[in-house]
Symmetry: C2
Subunit: 388 residues, 2 copies
C-alpha cells in the first residue's frame, strides 16, 4: 500500500526537488501536460524583454553586436549536451515538420531505397514522410511499431521513427533499431520530440545519422518554439539540404547568386532565424547545465513507476495502462485507456489536474521531472480514482 506519506518521503529525498521553483506555474495546478507544452522557466521573460530592448536600441546592428546571428548555433550547443550529440552537430531552425522533410529528403539524396516507418509515428511525421516519398519517388512502408526493427531489410534506404510514441508513451529501442538500420546500409532518422530532455539519448554514441525534434515539449521553449536538426559529423560534408536558403550558404552576407553550402551543420539552415522565440528557447535550456541527464531520467522513471503502481493500487480493473510496464520501453508519460477518457480529462481540469485526451479513449499524463513531485502523482491518481 503506497501512501501519501511515502510520496512525500520520496520528494524529500529528490535531488531535483529544488528545480520546481524555477518554473512559473499557476498556484494549485498539477500540470501533467508538459509533454505537449512545457511551462515557462523564470528568466525567460527577462531574456525575451532583453531581446526587445536590443531590437529597439541596436536595430539592425543587433545581428552582430548582440550576437543574434549566432543564436541557432548557441541553442544547438545546449541541445548537443541534452542529446548526447557531438560538438557542432545540432542547429536550431524551422519547425520539426520542415526539419524532418529536410532530414529525410537529404537522406534520400544520399542513399537509394525505400523509406520505412511505423504507425506509431506522430501524424505530422507520417504526412512529411509521404511528401518526401512522393517527391523523391520512393516507396513509404508503414509497419506496426513492434515490427519496425524486423522490417528493416536490404532495400530499405531510410528508417524514420519517433523515439517515444506521443500516444502510448512507448519507447523504441533506439540503439537496436539504429544498429539494424546500419546493418542493412540504411540511414536512421529519429524524431526526439517526445524524449529530448527527459532521458539520455546518446546520438553520437549510438551513431544515429540524422535527428530532429521540437523545442516546446519537455524543453519548455514556449508555444510553437523553434525546432532543431542533428546531422552526424560523418555526413556533414556530404549532405545536401534539399531546401537551399541563404542562411545555409557558406557566406550569406556576400549575397552571391551561386549557392555554396556552409560547412558543417550550418548548411541545414534555410531562412532568417527567429530571434525573439529562439532567445526564449535558449534561456529555457539553461537548466540542463545544472543537473545531469541520468538524474533527470531516474526521477522520470520514479514518477512514471509510481503513477503506474498507484493506478494498479487505486484503479485496478477500471482502466487499462497503455504504457509499457518495462521502464526501458517507456518515456516520461503514462497513458490510460478508458471509455470516458475525454470526460475524465475535462473533470480533472476542474480540480486543477491538467492532462490531455487523445481520441477516442486515451488519457495522457506527462510527468516532467523538473516540476512534478511524487506527491503530485499521488494527488493526480487520487483525483482520477475519484472521478472514474
Amino acid at each position: 500500500m503506497i501512501t501519501r506519506e511515502d510520496c512525500e518521503d520520496l520528494d524529500r529525498k529528490d535531488p531535483l526537488a529544488h528545480l520546481r521553483e524555477r518554473f512559473e506555474l499557476p498556484e494549485g495546478v498539477i500540470y501533467l501536460d508538459g509533454n505537449s507544452l512545457g511551462p515557462p522557466l523564470r528568466g525567460v521573460r527577462e531574456r525575451v524583454n532583453q531581446v526587445l530592448d536590443e531590437w529597439s536600441q541596436d536595430l539592425i546592428a543587433g545581428w552582430w553586436d548582440r550576437e543574434w546571428v549566432d543564436l541557432p548555433l548557441r541553442v544547438g550547443r545546449r541541445l548537443e549536451a541534452i542529446l548526447g550529440a557531438e560538438a557542432g552537430s545540432v542547429i536550431c531552425t524551422d519547425s520539426t515538420s520542415v526539419n524532418l522533410y529536410k532530414a529525410v529528403g537529404a537522406a534520400c539524396i544520399l542513399v537509394e531505397g525505400d523509406i520505412l516507418t511505423d504507425r506509431g509515428n506522430f501524424p505530422t511525421c507520417l504526412y512529411v514522410l509521404e511528401s518526401v516519398a512522393a517527391r523523391w519517388g520512393r516507396q513509404l512502408l508503414v509497419v506496426d511499431p513492434e515490427q519496425l526493427e524486423d522490417a528493416i531489410h536490404p532495400g530499405i534506404g531510410v528508417v524514420a521513427a519517433t523515439q517515444v510514441d506521443y500516444r502510448s508513451g512507448r519507447r523504441h529501442l533506439l540503439e537496436a533499431i539504429t544498429r539494424r538500420a546500419h546493418l542493412h546500409q540504411a540511414l536512421m532518422v529519429w524524431d526526439l520530440s517526445h524524449s529530448a530532455g527527459v532521458m539520455e539519448i546518446g546520438l553520437g554514441a549510438e551513431e544515429v545519422d540524422l535527428a530532429v525534434g521540437c523545442g516546446y515539449k519537455y524543453l519548455n521553449g514556449g508555444p510553437g518554439a523553434p525546432a532543431y536538426i542533428y546531422v552526424s559529423p560523418r555526413w556533414q560534408d556530404r549532405i545536401s539540404n534539399p531546401i537551399q536558403g541563404w542562411f545555409g550558404h557558406a557566406r550569406p552576407f556576400d549575397f552571391s547568386p551561386q549557392f555554396v553550402p556552409a560547412s558543417g551543420i550550418e548548411r541545414m539552415r534555410v531562412g532568417t532565424p527567429d530571434v525573439i522565440s529562439m532567445a526564449a528557447l535558449e534561456r529555457s535550456l539553461q537548466i540542463w547545465e545544472e543537473v545531469d541527464l541520468a538524474a533527470i531520467r531516474a526521477k522520470s522513471e520514479s514518477l512514471v513507476g509510481l503513477f503506474i503502481d498507484l493506478v494498479a493500487q487505486e484503479l485496478s480493473g477500471r482502466v487499462e495502462v497503455l504504457t509499457p510496464l518495462d521502464p526501458a520501453r517507456r518515456g516520461s508519460q503514462v497513458s490510460l485507456v478508458l471509455d470516458e477518457a475525454g470526460r475524465l480529462i475535462s473533470d480533472l481540469a476542474e480540480v486543477g489536474v491538467i492532462a490531455d485526451f487523445r481520441t477516442p479513449n486515451v488519457a495522457r499524463f506527462g510527468l516532467a521531472p523538473f516540476y512534478i513531485t511524487h506527491t503530485d502523482v499521488f494527488e493526480a491518481v487520487a483525483a482520477i480514482s475519484k472521478l472514474v
Copy 2:
C-alpha cells in the same frame, strides 16, 4: 535649391507625421535600414509580455482559450489588407525561403514547364529556385531583370520574381509581368519582402497566383519574424503543399494517420505556429489599419524623390544613383554606387545615420514612410555629402 526649411515645411504638411511617435527609436538616430530590419512599434513589448503571461497562466489551454491557434490566420487577415489580397488568401507561417519552396514547388505540381527568374532576385530566392528546379526536374532560366518580361514565352511553367530589388531598389512592373505570364499559361509567384507595407500591391486585382514575403522589413515584425504565403482563391482547392504537415491537415487534432489537406489557405501551413514571434508581428501590423496605402506610398515617393533630388544637388558627379529615376519603377529605398561605399556606411553610423552596404560598392538607404521625415532625408544627404 532645396533647403532644410523646405523639408521642414514638407514635414509639417505630412499626414503621416504623427505615426513616428508610435515607434521605439533611439534618440538622435536617423534609421535608414528599415528595409533590412524595421524598428519595434510601441505596444509590441506589451503584446509579447501578454503572451508570456498567457503561457504561464493558461499553459496548454492557451492554444484555444487565448486563440493562439488562430494567430496565423489573424495575421493573414491583416496582411490581406496590406497586400490587396482576397479574404482567406494569406497565412503567416515558416520563413520566406521555406514558403517560396512550398509556393514554387506547389506551382510545379500544378503545371509543366521551366522556371524563369532574374538575376536581380534576392540570393535566397535563387537558391530556393535551384532546389525546386532540381527536385521537380525543371530547368531554371535566369535572365537579366530588364529582360524578365520578354523572356516569358511558351514552355515556361512558373515565373518567380521579387517585386523590388533589395540591391538597387528597382521595382518590377508586377501587373505587366503577371499578365504576360498568364498569356503563356505560366503561374506567377511574387516575393514581396521588399515592397509589402510601403505601396499598393493588389494581389487580387492583378490576379497573381502565389506570393510570399517576410515580416521583418517594412512590416516591422521583429528580427527573423515569421513570414507569409498567399495563394489565389482560384488555386486554393487544387493546390498541394509539397511539405505536408499536421497544421496543413483538415483536422490536425484528430491525429489521423491519413493526410487530408485543409480547405483554403490553411493547407499551406506545415508545423506548429511560433506564437511569441507571431504575436509580435500581429501587433506590428495594427498600424496599417489607421492609414491607407495610397497615403503611405505618396509619402514614400516624396521621401525617395527628395533623397534623389538632394543627391543631385549636393553630390552631383561624386556618386551614381543606382535606383531608377521613374517613380513607378522603384520601391522605398535609394541605392548609391561609390567606391568607398563600405567606409561611407561606417562613417555615417558614427554620426547617427544608419544605412547599409552591399558588396562591392552599393550604399542602401531605406526610407520607411512611417518614421522617416523629409528633414531626416535632408540631414542624411548632408552627412553623406560631408563624408564622401
